[in-house]
């Protein structure tokens, strides 16, 4: 191959000049003639059946152009990346599954009027018993969020025979781990503007996922995929949190109803309170090796609280399961990962996708084993690290580009240069 000219160079970001000048246009910066402002009325209870939504007073408020409820949705009233279990608006007779579920949306001349209109919407909800712990939710007598039950998905990985293999281990460590629910906290909150152009709805929105957004907009507006145009605006960070739809379908519905451009910008509180989070995990680890530190058996159980709706939940738990054993070759593995519904805020994708949680656990396990064996944390890792040709827990062979030993060496060398011999 000839010498690379551009690849490998520190090329300046294509959009960086606008960003330092302050001229880059983020969704909240968009202004259009006749633009209205949208706001969302949300549930205050975690679980219940909507009995009544009366919007007549709100509609009468001067400056209000539309108040929409579930009945005004021409399409499927469903969203969701992996499973379409999330209502765009919860209607009368339908079920609220978390605090913050959207019940109605308003478009008005100003944000203040839209806000005032929300206060005029009357809502009655029959509350249902709720469940807030995934462990409780897995019990037979728990309040059920869905007919099929609260266990949304189970992912199993089995290689070899762990029960048998643990008998042959010289050292075994067993430990439980838990991690917290985490917020993406991108500095730009969710925002978007929709405008009809003929029979096409244009949605300018901050997003990581325009082509998926298009589906949710089109299916809910009951229009063709070629009639929903999603235009990503300069996006102020995502970290997984801008994969799901938030304002997208709502602004599109309001723009269609009012025939005016409609903008929605979430406040920080609205953003933190209603958008997806990193899954809190409960993990049980049991790991065994021989007296030389060679891993023989590995067993992990993971429970991920995905909250009221699936979002990226099953994907996160599947990825967590695959990565649960760390980058080590182990002949006997058993992993079980449960995605569980609760009436908590929903968890979805966040940078790392379940792997930061399991890495915390598997790397703690490795140190515990090393300590018991009286060898260094680096040594036990070197002994078990994936190399080209290694077989993973899912039985796939790593053919090439397996730079783990190099990263260990490089990190060690760099650290030693500064800190002295610590390994």
């Amino acid at each position: 191959m000839s010498q690379l000219k551009v690849v490998g160079q520190n090329v300046k970001k294509k959009d960086v000049k606008e960003k330092v000048l302050g001229t880059a246009i983020f969704a909240a910066d968009i202004k259009m003639d006749g633009m209205l402002y949208g706001k969302t009325l949300r549930s205050k209870v975690p679980h219940g059946i909507v009995k009544k939504i009366n919007v007549s007073q709100a509609l009468e408020l001067p400056g209000v152009h539309a108040v929409l409820t579930e009945q005004d949705i021409p399409g499927v009233n469903k969203a969701g990346i992996i499973v379409k279990d999330e209502p765009v608006l919860v209607g009368i007779g339908q079920r609220i599954r978390k605090i913050g579920d959207p019940l109605a949306i308003v478009a008005a001349e100003t944000e203040e009027i839209a806000e005032a209109a929300l206060d005029l919407i009357e809502v009655e909800v029959e509350e249902l018993p709720a469940v807030f712990s995934p462990l409780d939710a897995m019990k037979d007598d728990a309040p059920k969020l869905y007919e099929k039950g609260n266990i949304m998905a189970v992912r199993r990985i089995v290689k070899g025979d762990v029960a048998e293999a643990f008998k042959n281990c010289d050292v075994i460590v067993e430990q439980d781990y838990t991690t917290s629910m985490v917020e993406h906290a991108y500095i730009e909150t969710e925002a978007g503007v929709a405008k009809m152009e003929g029979d096409v709805v244009n949605v300018w929105v901050c997003t990581q996922n325009p082509h998926y957004d298009r589906k949710d907009v089109a299916y809910n507006l009951n229009i063709g995929l070629n009639q929903a145009r999603i235009i990503q605006t300069t996006t102020g960070g995502g970290f997984g949190g801008k994969l799901d739809v938030t304002v997208h379908v709502h602004v599109a519905l309001l723009a269609k109803a009012t025939k005016r451009p409609v903008k929605m910008v979430y406040s920080r509180r609205e953003s933190i309170s209603n958008t997806v989070k990193r899954h809190p995990f409960i993990m049980k680890y049991k790991t065994g090796c021989d007296k030389d530190g060679k891993l023989i058996a590995w067993q992990t159980e993971i429970i991920g609280d995905t909250g009221a709706y699936a979002s990226y939940g099953p994907g996160t738990l599947t990825r967590a399961a695959v990565h649960a054993t760390g980058p080590y070759e182990i002949p006997n593995v058993k992993v079980e990962a449960y995605t569980v519904y609760t009436n908590n805020p929903q968890a979805g994708a966040m940078r790392g996708f379940g792997v930061p949680q399991v890495a915390f656990a598997h790397e703690s396990q490795m140190n515990l084993l090393a300590e018991k064996l009286g060898i260094s944390p680096l040594e036990i890792r070197m002994k078990n690290a994936f190399i080209p040709g290694s077989i993973t827990a899912t039985g796939s062979k790593l053919e090439h580009s397996v730079g783990l030993k190099s990263t260990m060496e490089s990190a060690k060398q760099a650290a030693e240069k500064v800190l002295g011999d610590k390994f």
């Binding site: 000048l21 991108y186 730009e188």
Partner: protein
């Protein structure tokens, strides 16, 4: 409504505007004057995205009533470059890779400017302290600190 006439300098230009007493400075800048380089990340004085410089000091413009800027001098991100020529801080942010999503960038650059105006030779620790009111979720701050160091050298030349 009891609108009040205020006069102030914004990016070296004189402005006379009538504002309602409850209007925030950030809304005046963004909505009325159309300078959207000043961002809103929280509206509660916690993130620094709305930072502007007022009489030499940074303020969170989401926490300041517009009427109080009467007679003051304000600088926003739009006021830094001289035509096509970027301010040394803007240049160093570009060169050091201190910008990812860019949402924190205007506020970061203005806080850095106020810092360097007051302390032309800050240590990395002083820079971190000076920027501690500006949140960035993308960069981990490392390259931002480097960019400010670089600009300080450039400005002291």
């Amino acid at each position: 409504m009891n609108k009040k006439l205020i006069k102030f300098t914004l990016n070296d230009k004189e402005y006379k505007v009538e504002v309602e007493p409850q209007v925030l400075l950030v809304d005046l800048i963004r909505e009325e004057l159309g300078l959207t380089g000043t961002k809103v990340g929280c509206g509660e004085g916690e993130c620094g995205a709305c930072t502007v410089i007022m009489d030499g000091k940074t303020v969170n413009s989401c926490m300041v009533l517009a009427v109080t800027v009467d007679g003051k001098k304000i600088t926003t991100i739009e006021g830094l470059a001289k035509g096509e020529e970027l301010h040394p801080l803007q240049k160093s942010f570009v060169e050091e890779g201190a910008v990812q999503c860019g949402f924190c960038t205007p506020g970061m650059i203005l806080s850095s400017k106020a810092l360097l105006d007051e302390n032309p030779n800050p240590t990395p620790e002083e820079i971190k302290k000076g920027l501690s009111g500006n949140l960035c979720r993308c960069t981990g701050y490392a390259k931002i600190v480097k960019a400010v160091e670089k600009a300080s050298k450039e400005l002291n030349k």
